[in-house]
Symmetry: C2
Subunit: 377 residues, 2 copies
Amino acid sequence: MKQSRRGQVDPFIVMDVMEAARKAEAAGRHIIHMEVGQPSTPAPAGARRALALALEQPLGYTVALGLPALRQGIAQLYRRWYGVDLDPARVVVTPGSSGAFILAFSALFDAGDRVALGEPGYPSYRQILRAMSLEPVGIPTRPEDRYQPRPQDLPQAQGLILASPGNPSGTVLRRDELAALTARAAELGMAVISDEIYHGLDYGAGFHSALEVTDDVFVINSFSKYFSMTGWRVGWMVVPEHMIRTVERIAQNMFICPPHASQVAALAALDCIDEADQNLAVYAENRRLMLERLPQIGFDRIAPPEGAFYIYADVSALTTDSLGFAAEILDKAGVAVTPGLDFDPHRGAQTLRFSYAGSTADIAEGLERLARFMAAR
Amino acid sequence: MKQSRRGQVDPFIVMDVMEAARKAEAAGRHIIHMEVGQPSTPAPAGARRALALALEQPLGYTVALGLPALRQGIAQLYRRWYGVDLDPARVVVTPGSSGAFILAFSALFDAGDRVALGEPGYPSYRQILRAMSLEPVGIPTRPEDRYQPRPQDLPQAQGLILASPGNPSGTVLRRDELAALTARAAELGMAVISDEIYHGLDYGAGFHSALEVTDDVFVINSFSKYFSMTGWRVGWMVVPEHMIRTVERIAQNMFICPPHASQVAALAALDCIDEADQNLAVYAENRRLMLERLPQIGFDRIAPPEGAFYIYADVSALTTDSLGFAAEILDKAGVAVTPGLDFDPHRGAQTLRFSYAGSTADIAEGLERLARFMAAR
């Protein structure tokens, strides 16, 4: 029995960092986690309460597109956040945004198709594409463009993935940039997938959905980040009306349904905006600390972190081996950070991603450790 | 934006039957459900209790292969059920068996590869394969072989899916049959995937895992059926040792992790064998009723239902249009059944699948309704 070519995906380096951090902790060390892209807070209390009350129900399969009330609640979020009227029939509840990507790629692309994406970017785009016999086409982006692609950068390809706020950069596409990019993609005949998983996590820059500028787009989002529900694996996708039935059939066969218990919790989470905004206030304070201290410490070449909970730093003045540098920081400072290679196979050897999704006390302690490490270097 | 060729999967007919049944119920009718392949019972009480206690924890991402304790518990099940010593490192926790199929197909096959499967069989095999640009190759099976493929039937292909107990047939592969089929597949260079999702649901015939006869196999199972946890989307896959790292990387990127809350519940479910066996006793009684009454009613050409909770009936003497026949039974008898077309695109127009996963009272009532319907026909 031999492995397929498509199955030869790259390792997810952040996972290896997490494993190294776990081993250090198992050996008795205290580690500050600036590597993981997940909140340290649980799902909102109201969400957990709703699930506790629902545990007497059978919680069997739901329909493939998700609980109707949840689809409706998500549609209402589009009115609240963006002033967009969205037909709940176009909302597909998915097993995390990961499941949404699998559905979108299945519905839109055939083996050998090319899908363009900005570099740096979320590494799993590239790996999921490869595992589905699709070809990722990197678009190198520039710090002066806030690490986002420009319309004139789009290559010939069948698809385009946009991400705003971006991971690892945290930078946001403005409304006019979304309009220009989706218009250019339409001219080139590219299907557009807009990853909006960090929406809700913004610090004044505001954020816009691709749905504000076009209906001819797959928009992907999730309860993982703003609603603090990473491990629950419940996300969603908004699809053009003519694609609903196609996506439904693929979802019926590939997933049957998203986890029922998670859907119950997610439905209640929609009413827990106060708690989500309390978490946001913590990230905002963490971000303020990071932006104050990181440049003092020596990490001064950073992208403007407009959203999400990441800071992407150019460390080319410090190293040409971000993997080794991250290992050194873990070893000497007891802080886990992510080498940029996950996000940019070409230039990531000279970048690091810092996550500030943890508690403020942890972030402050991590910054002090980083300061001592850099001072001693 | 246009749809891909791979996205043009067939509708899942049982889902349309469920929708028609739901509409009839919304219109005030009482419907007996013999169409759905899921228990009407909730997850075991111990599983729900464990989750309720865990709800104060963050329940963020787990490692991609699943909670170590759960992988260990599943490995122990192989000792208990089959007397097989299984290294927990080979156990991959998956988002349902559906997720396991996506992982297995990604790890083993490249675009254009052919994967053989018995007809009749679970329809999503075929649809997931197509959505991943793989080619399903049907192996027509015979009632006298209990609707299971024989070694001499295997075509030239890169892969083979076995299913025991089969869906829709409920028939079981004996140990020597598993040995002969996997040996022949190895000769032909086919990777073998053994779907064992209905294990635990047997009525005296016993059941054997492909792992008893070879390590060179992907074995797929789930908490959905025997443990009555369909909507929780938690299953597992046992992989050969040399494939662990490959599957882990694909899982990291495609799924990140199985739903954490469901893993917590599943871990506790492993200790709820008494409750699972009580459910089994209900199915056994349902099966007894079905086998007694169905032939009297006029459904006398049925596969020996050795496991699972299905009876597959040849209705060629009654109709050549199982879709219309099922619609007529729903309309006139108020019983939802599944037309065979989902399971066998060629001969399924003359077969029906009856599920007896419901309560015994419902099954008895359904049988009476079917009897009246057939008497009046």
